[in-house]
Structures are given as structure tokens and as C-alpha cells.
Symmetry: D2
Subunit: 374 residues, 4 copies
């Protein structure tokens, strides 16, 4: 199967999902750009879109090349420590207007997307306000401000993501529905449900009834935990007789040991997560299991680098009918090793080898699991 | 200590080292660009400099911003499987002339370096021919071809790197000495010495006598193993009454379990090394220990991402007197977490926390060490 | 607190439990005697009581000395592979009559118990027949045959143990109730319940209604899993308004990774369980947690050696008011190390050291968890 | 191959070794009896021979039954914390005369040995005095006092064991040679040599020249480390043109991470070593490798339970021509599982399964290696 050659017609997200296509999402900007030197951990804000646009453009390009069908605007802005600033619209530590940042983020995503058939999704996330008060009007107004930019920039669809409380996620969906574009919504919850104890199944039902077209989870939990949550969401929708497209954008980290709060509670967060990073083979397995579960919008979040997105696209190449452009630089299942002069390295040029490898940590003084804080 | 503000005068590599400065090297292009989708593992060739120059430029920029004082041209070309092609100068899998690639690589490094006070180093490495015959003339001619490009491009100094056999490294040094620029040389050996059993101490002595100004190791082994090798090199030079600047550019992977052949023999090479990736704190410790050992040229190789280079520059900021530009996006020792709303995450905003953390792999079904193949 | 000096009056099991005393059970005979060379793994039969009575007597003596208040007759006979033989009463691999074996087992336990104030408990367990047919009459007759021996030997009370199906456990309780002695019953189930899916809470309720005086779990699962099951049993009884004494005799192995079938499904069963053996400190913690949960009959099963039983008795010495005889050879919390000449070993003579130690496996090529078979 | 039936003629230790026989040693009394409640850790003294003779007799019986050709008197007395007492001959914590203890120990070993063809070896070990002064006369007199008992009791041969300094070991050999019985000597050193830096090879040479008939190592280090030391001893003897029988009695614990001081420096010593206990399969491998190295006296030390000794005897049954008595209760390579009703457990009844099993620790929060103290 050769990398895609000719131009692809740009179809809408629902058109794609309705026709049974697999949609590959992109990966995480915050962690990738933190490692590249353009995002500050702790703050986790996207001012790089105005400060270092070439760095953001490059990462969009890499995800596109890796096979992403969607480029999400780098507008994430949910860090809990910025409540006051949220209210005033001033970013901590710099002097950029939020709307300036969000407009620049749209421009960058669209500029790169135009080079392919990728869709641009405008993203909003939970507010810091919700945990202090539950003022629906005020919070919806914040969402509406952000939505205004996306509407002016004509993004292809909208994503409300990283919600811990289904009530606030429902408000977000209700606002995003106002402009008519398709709406995806993801919660950052695990199998135990939202912070008020609403089960994943019930969350999915409420989001569907609020009008979301695509429903799922993102961030906070690794592949296997996120797929368990998706299973519960799917069952909840089925039991309620509802239909929705399913979406998963999990962490690129293994987190079997995290509690209800997800990876932020692990002692390694955020500066010692390296040993938990998924291999490309882990991600191929995740993509296959997500597909088998009926999820058709499959991407990643924090920890997903371009090669992880490529792994999704390669695993599902039989279903999609084409390989992503970046596969020109990647032999399937390690086949690029088949010309190596050392026979024991050549012996690694096969699927069974990488599928069954149990990779060592090289850290014999470290444990394999941690107890989450709090 | 604030990030460096004003322009810095560009001093030569020997001028810097002779005056006792710490020189921060850059990190690994092959592994970083493989994960970004621009290099093919197995082949490990740098045609991205002509195919995707913006990707290479971006990575140079990130290393510079992370604090690198040296930008090495992306001209690595030692994959063992390309012997015939080496002879003809034609790259496997594409149609670029080697000299075209190397010239483009120089241009990219110089373009980025001009934005700072960074030096550009032209790099050559071991040939695939040496293990088939030991034709000194023929091999030296290959080196001379590459040197020609570097001379025309006026790189600041030269690096001969990734040599398994000290004899070939000596030949490389002899050739590089021909144009008068300072010469650094690194071998990809561990404490057991080169592939013919020459000890690290004896390797260093021979390289010094061949005229190398800067001597050390790169690639193949993780931080602690490489520092052991450096200790042996230092002792060898001392015992022979010789003086040379010391240099280390180890892997960004933990490899306590690899044998004489280094990380390529580990079962995880090259597609399952994730759990072995060093944290920034590991690298700070490595930088400090290298410094204490007397090494003054400290950088990285495969596995070193920009944030690892920043960790070197931050650790040695007291000695150097300034922080790298990318520290604007990094609180020292996790201090960026001090405003987090969750108290148990705020509690991580301190040096002792990260220095003593034993990060879990999140992989309870995997071992901590592997047995090397071969 | 000194080891118990004077003679203790021999009180009945219910008298003890009703007055709030902690009753310390004994440990596992099969695994201990297998390692000593007197029991065959796979077969797991107790013919040692006639073949090597001094070995059995010695182990009874050690458990008594370690603090056990109960010596259970070594009459276990549930290996699934002996169905036919069960019917005929002939043991596989030897020619002993079952009743001969069971009578000898009673004599040995009583002989040793007479040296202290320990009670002798006659033990029966699930049959191999139950999984092939559910002939209540036939199975109850098997129980009655065994009970006849216990009645003639005047054991102090009866234990029906190692039941996978609550229905069969109920039959056992009904039979054991026939002679008037107190009846304890334990199932070898985990939190997921019995092999027909009856929850631990419901199991406990049925057993209580069948007339069992003491209810709990034994074998198959490690300390923490077994305590979870006990919690569910306790809640089940409470919700049904029932009262029963609680009992736990878990494995001396760590088995967080075993599935519903328990440790027999772990790949290490039965000849590679060494790395999972609990330390004495693990068992002290288990004893404390069991006590806090309201369990008052606390012992062990496979993997419990005499020093593990001593750990229970030492942990609960404050509540019981005395130390076991074997504590004459054991400094509490490692205090016996306080005279060591090496200061770093003396530094281990304290509770905090052993309570927080994370003991290494010394096996860097092995994982920390396994996937259960089947 | 059936367990040995008829009586075996009792041949001397040198007669056996000279004729090429494999001699199986016994295991460790201190750790085994500590777990059974008869020895106090920290003190590590053998007063159980007078206090609880049946416990000591039982353990001798088990080792004999497991295949031991030698029963060593339980007279170990080297705990470093008893220097003063050593001088006076009074044991700490009790009132037994050392000579009373040693005589009782001889009687017990001989009583059990008479039941088989086993030899009785009288054992002495390093003094606590040596590290305070090097008074040869005084130390030799201590050895002579112990030797007097062994001579009166007519033990079959003598073992000087657990020496950290070759000088003191030489003195011991010189004393033991005085009565004419064969002399074995073992040092508790690793590949780095004795506490004064004398290499294992040189230690072996000095011990051979002092007149020792059998030379090797015991205690302090696990199987693989001890075999490395034996290899160095063998090479030392060969290079010096000397001949001696080789002997190894390593720990039953995995200790790849211990330093020069051996397992006492590991943080887990002595109450958290459980996860390090060797399986029977580890010991079969150890026995085979020891045999292949030319070692013919193969036993164990601390951590070796009877089933570990049986594993040596079973592994070397082809060479010896018979199985030990305890093999009546042990199917070779797990064959006793072949009648199990669960097919996945039956599948474990084969050599390849147990030889390749990587047993999990069941402790995901613990590391695989520790850093030694001091």
C-alpha cells in the first residue's frame, strides 16, 4: 500500500463518520511543545501561536503528515490556576489577549490544513470558574466569546474537550450548537465517571441529548483505561436507545495505576512520565481495539507525538485504504531493519517481534507502578 | 538568573574551552526526526536536509534555544547497510548526491546559528568499508570528500564521531587536521573499549597523538556508562602525560544492561526504547557528574530532545552565568507547579522532589532489564 | 511484654470469640511440608501423617510456638484429580485408607495441642465430585464419613474450608452441625464471589443461615484481596441483619494480579511463587487490617510459615496481652539487630525501617505482575 | 530413575571426590530455623541444639532426605557482635557453654547421619577477634578449642567456612590440619576478593598451599555471583599449577545488586529477603553450571531450604545415578501436575515451562534491585 498520492476531496466530519470512515485525530500540543521549549509546564498556555508560530506550524505539519484528518486549533486554556485571568481574558505571564491568541491559532491550523484535506476543529475546554461557582450564564458567555472567533474563522467543526463535570460539558455543547457546525465533546474522565459521580454511560446520554454529534473521552488516562470508559459510554448510549459517533483521544502514557483523578495525581506528573510513554506498537494495538469497539474518531492527547498518530494511521490503513505521507519514512512493523548487517537486528524486522516485546525500563531501582497522590 | 539578553560574541571552540568555559552540545537528529516523521529508522539517513529543510531548521532552532553552543551539521551517514552506496555516493532509497546533502546540511546549520552565537561543526563518522577491508587510502579519501564540503562552507570546527575502531578514528583525525580547523573526535565505545579491545584510555592517547583537540565518546551507551568510559579516557591521557579537552555526547536512554555493542544490541532497539528515555532530572545529574569529572563539552546523542539539552544548560547555569532562552518556558526544578490549585501537585514544585523521584514505568508486565542479543 | 509464662486455661473457640478475644490460626501444611520434602505438589495429599509423623508433629509444634491458638488436623484432601479415589477412599500413589490418615492426623494435632492451650479443629473441604454432579446425598455422606473420625477423636471444633461453591459449603455446614461442635466455614473465593457468581455477601448470608458460627475465606488469594472479600462478607451479613464471627486464612503470597480463579491460575503456581512470599512485616500489616475490619480469627494458608503466624501474634500482642513463645527468638520490629557491629545494619533495628521498606526482587529480568492463565 | 533403595557404603569425602563423585552439601540452618522460630536473627547463634534438639534433628533429617551427602554440625558462631563473649566462651542471651553446644551439635548430626550414608562435617568459622587484632596465637587457640570437640566426636571431616580474610582462613586450615582429617575451607567473598583485596585466585592458592583439600566459597552472595568467584578461584589454582577439589555453598537468594560486602549490606537483610528466594529451577541451573565449571561439592547456605538441596540432587541425578529419597514426593520438572483437571495447569508439567518462566514478584510498587548500604 503506497502513501496517498493524489488530492483528496475535503469532506465534512459528519459526512465522513456517517459513511463509516475512520477519522484520525491529531496528538497533544502541550507536552510536545513543552519538550521542544515553547510551552511552560504548570501554566500550559498556548501563547506560542503568536510568539513562535513556526514551531506550532511545524507540529501541525507533522501531525498532518502522520495521517491526522483533523487539525485542532491550539487554543487549550483550562489550567486551574488561571481563574482570575480567565475572567479578565489576560494570560498569566504575558500580555496577549485571549482572542488574539485564538485567532492566530485558527490561522495556523488552517494554513497547514490547506495543504491537505484535513479538517480544522476549533477547541474549547472546561473553565476554571466552574469549580468555584456554577453560574451557567457567566460560563456560557465565556464559551460564546471563544466560539465567536471560531465562527469568524470558519473552522470546519467544534470540539468541547477536557470536561470533568458533565453539567459543564452539557453547557458547552449547548453553546457550540448555536452556530450550526458539527459538535464533538470529550470528557477527561475514567471508568469511575465524572467528579460528581455521574457514570460514563450517563454522561454520554446527557451529552447526546444536549445535541453533541460525536462523544467520547480525551486526556487524563492511558489507552486501556480510556477504552474501558468508551465501552461504558457506548453501553450507556445503547441502553438509552441513542446513537452518536464515538471518539477517543487518550494519553500517550501507560497509567494503569492512576486513580479517579487521572495522571495528574501520579507522582511522575508532569516531569517524570518518560518511562510511561507508549511505543508505536502499543498505539497500533490501541487503534485496533478502539476500532473493534466501534470508535471511529481515534486520536491522542498529551504524550502523543507525530509517530504515535502515524501508528494509528498505519494500523487502520487496511480499513482506510491508504497509508499516511509519513509512512514513506517508516517500514511497517519494523521492516526497515531488514537490511541491517547484524543478523540479530535483522531478526527484529517482523510484526511478531514487536507485538510481543516486553520493553525493559532500564531502571532497575524504580518500581513499575506508583500510588497516586491525594 | 535571567535568560541571556544581548548579543554574544562568537568565540572559537578552543578559545572557549581553553578559557574554561562549558560548551553545551546539541542533541540527536536521527531519533528526534524519526519520531517527527522525516527520517527512516534502519536507514538512518539525513536526506531530510533537502526534502524537508523546515523540519531540520526547526530542530536546529530548538537545540539552539535550549542552550546548545554548537550546531552540528546533519550529515551523519554511517549506516552499515549502505556500503556500496557509500562508494558511489548515491543514497539508498533516493537520488540525492551525498555532496548535495552535506552542503545543504551546512547551510541549514549556519542559517540557524547566525541567529545566535552558536558554532557550526561539520561532522563525519565511521565508514561502512572499514569492517570489510582496512584500506587506509580509500577510507581517507571518503573522509576528504566530506571535508571538502565543510571547508568550502567554512564551518567553525570539525567532529569525527561514532567510531568503533580507534584505527579508523585516527585516520579521520589525520584527514580532518589537513584544513587547520579544530578537531573533535568521539568514539561510540563503552568501558570495555573498542571492537578490537583497545581500552578507552589507550584510544584517547592515540587520538590525542593523532592531533585531536577534543576527545570523548558519543552514542551507543547511556549517561552513566558513558561517564565511566570518559573516566577511563581521562586516566589514560593523564597516565600518558597528555592533555586534551574532554567531550561526551551520550544516549538519552538508560542502558545499564547493554553489552559491549551498546544499545543496538538491546531487544528494544530501535522501536521500543521509550521506557528507557531519561528525564530532565536524570540529565541534570549527568551534566553535573560530567562537569565534576572535568568534561567541558557536554551534549547528547540519540534520545536527546531539546528539553534534555536545556537540562544541561540549566544545571550548569551557575558555572556559565546565564540560562538558555528556552528557560523562559521552564521553571527550575519544577517551580512552575507552584501555582497549581491542587496542593499535592504544588508539593512537587521543589528540587528534592524531582531529584529523589523513582519514576514508575506503568508497565507491570515488563521487566526492568533486558539481555542484549548477540 | 514477655512471652506467655504460666498455663492458660483451655477455653472453647466460641467462648473465646464471644468474649472478644483474638484467635490466631495456624498456617499452611501443604506448601510448608512440600518444601520440607513430605508432600507431593499436584497431588497435595496428607499421607505424611502416617508416613512421616515426626515431620507433621514438628510443624504443629512450630505453629503452636508461633502463637497459634488452633491446630488444624492435617486432613486436607481436595485435589481435583482424585475423584475416583475419593469415591473408593483409596489415595492415589499409596495404599492408606482415608480414615486411617484422618485418625492419625487427629492424634498428632492433639498430642501437640496438649502441650499448650491450643484447640484442635477437624477440617474437611470441598469434594471433587461436586463439579461432576450435584448429588447432595452422596456428597453429604462423604462429609459424614470424615466427621465420624473427628467425633470419635473429640476435636474441639470443626472447619469446613476451601469451597468454591456456596451450595456445597452449605451442605458441609449442615453435616458438621449434626454433632453439636462449633462450626467454622471458609470459602476460597475472592471479591468476585463463588464459581456460580454468588457474591461474597450472599455467600456469607447463606452460610450463616445454614448454621455456621464462624464465616470467612481461606487460600487462593493474598492478604489484601482476601480482606476485600471479608469486607464484602461483613457488609452482606450486616445488610441481612445477621451476626457471625469472621475468619480469614489467606495465602502468604502477594497476588494482586490473579483473576477470579485465584493463585492456581497464575503462571508461577505452584513452583515459582517464591518472589511473591510475604514478609513478616506484610503479615503484621495484614493482621492489623483484619483486626480493624472486625475479623477476630486470623490465620494463614498456603505460604504461611511459622514466622508468619508469629507476626500475627506479635502484631496483636497489645490486644491479646502476651507474646507467643517463639518471640523469645525474635526482636520486635528488627530490634535484634541493635547490637550489630556495622552501623548501617544497626540502623535497621526500628519499626519505621521495616514498615516502609520496598523489598527488591533481585530479578531485574522478571516482571512484577503476571497475566493469569485461562 | 527410582529413589535410592538399598544401603550405601559410607566412603570418605576425599575418596568420593577423588573418584569423581558429586558430593551434595546441605543447606542453611540459621535462616531455616529462624523462620521456624528457633534461632534469633541478629544474634544468629546455635543454642537450639540444646534447647530444641528435635527441631535441629528434623532439619538434618530433611536435608539428608533431600539428598545431602554431608551433614554439617550446627556450630556456626561468627556473629560480629559477640566478640567479648567469644573470648569468654559464654553465649550472649543464654548460659550455654560453647563446648556444650558444639558437642550436642555433633551428636545430633551423627544421630541423623547414621540413618544414611551421610558424612558428618565439623564446622568452624571466622572469629570476631580478627578485625580488632591479628593475634595469630590467640585466634588459633580458639580454633583449637572447637577442633577438640570435633576430634573427640570423630566427625568425618572438617570445614572452615565464612572467612572474609584469607589470612585468618589460612590459620584455620593450619589448625584443622593438625588432627589428620580432610579439610575443606570456604571464604564468604565475591569476585572482588577478600576484605584486604586479595583476589579469589590468590586466596585459593594460599589456601591450597596451607593444606586445604577442598576450596571454595559459601554464603554472602547468590548463585551466579558465587559461581563467578569459583571461576576465578579455579583459574588461580590452574595458573599456579595447583590442584584442589572445588566447593560452593552459595546463598539461596538472588543478589546481583550487592556490593563487595555481600547480602548483609542489602537493605532487605535479613527480614525482607523473601522476594529474592531462588526457585528450585534456579537451583537446578546453578547445580548444572557449578558442575560444568568443575565444582564437585555443591551445597547451599542461608536461604537454602530442603527442597533447594533436592533440586541439586535431582539435577545431578544422571551423573550420580540415583535420586534422593525426597524425590518420592516430587515429580521431575513439575511432572506431578500432569493429572490436574485444569488443562492450563497440566500444561505446566514440563521442563521447558519452568526453565523459561520469569516469575513475577506480585509487588508492582517495589523495584527489582536495591542499592547496598555502606
Amino acid at each position: 500500500m503506497a502513501p496517498a498520492g493524489g488530492p483528496r476531496v475535503k469532506k465534512g466530519i459528519l459526512e465522513r463518520l456517517n459513511s463509516g470512515e475512520v477519522v484520525v485525530g491529531d496528538g497533544g500540543f502541550l507536552f510536545s511543545l513543552e519538550k521542544r521549549g515553547f510551552v511552560k509546564a504548570g501554566l500550559w498556555t498556548p501563547e506560542a501561536v503568536v510568539e513562535y508560530p513556526s514551531a506550532v506550524r511545524q507540529l501541525h505539519t507533522e501531525f498532518l503528515r502522520a495521517g491526522a484528518d483533523v487539525l485542532q486549533t491550539f487554543t487549550f486554556s483550562a489550567a486551574e490556576d488561571r481563574m482570575e485571568n480567565k475572567v479578565t481574558g489576560v494570560w498569566v505571564g504575558n500580555s496577549y489577549e485571549e482572542q488574539t491568541v485564538n485567532a492566530a491559532a485558527c490561522d495556523l491550523a488552517q494554513e497547514v490544513a490547506d495543504g491537505g484535506a484535513a479538517l480544522v476543529a476549533g477547541g474549547i475546554c472546561q473553565t476554571s470558574l466552574y469549580k468555584y461557582h456554577k453560574d451557567e450564564t457567566r460560563i456560557k458567555n465565556i464559551f460564546r466569546l471563544q466560539l465567536g472567533v471560531f465562527a469568524r474563522k470558519h473552522v470546519d467543526f467544534l470540539i468541547a474537550e477536557y470536561f470533568e463535570h458533565v453539567e459543564e460539558a452539557v453547557w458547552a455543547v449547548e453553546v457550540l450548537r448555536e452556530v450550526g457546525a458539527p459538535v464533538a465533546v470529550t470528557m477527561c474522565i475514567g471508568p469511575e465517571g465524572d467528579m460528581h459521580g455521574v457514570t460514563p454511560g450517563e454522561c454520554a446520554v446527557r451529552l447526546s441529548r444536549a445535541g453533541a454529534n460525536i462523544i467520547g473521552v480525551n486526556c487524563r488516562f492511558g489507552p486501556w483505561t480510556s477504552l474501558q470508559t468508551m465501552k461504558l459510554m457506548k453501553e450507556g448510549l445503547r441502553d438509552a436507545g441513542l446513537q452518536a459517533h464515538l471518539m477517543v483521544q487518550c494519553l500517550g502514557f501507560h497509567t494503569p495505576d492512576c486513580g479517579k483523578g487521572g495522571f495528574v495525581d501520579l507522582p511522575e506528573y508532569p516531569f517524570g512520565l518518560e518511562p510511561r510513554v507508549a511505543t508505536r506498537w502499543d498505539i497500533q494495538k490501541y487503534a485496533r481495539e478502539a476500532y473493534n469497539l466501534g470508535v471511529r474518531y481515534i486520536g491522542g492527547c498529551c504524550g502523543f507525538e507525530p509517530y504515535h498518530i502515524r501508528a494509528i494511521a498505519e494500523e487502520l490503513a487496511p480499513e482506510r485504504g491508504f497509508l499516511p505521507p509519513a509512512s514513506e519514512k517508516h517500514g511497517s512493523w519494523g521492516s526497515g531493519l531488514d537490511m541491517h548487517t547484524k543478523p540479530w537486528i535483522r531478526a527484529r524486522a517482523r510484526r511478531e517481534y514487536w507485538e510481543t516485546l516486553l520493553p525493559a525500563s532500564g531502571r532497575p531501582f524504580c518500581p513499575s507502578l506508583s500510588k497516586p497522590d491525594a
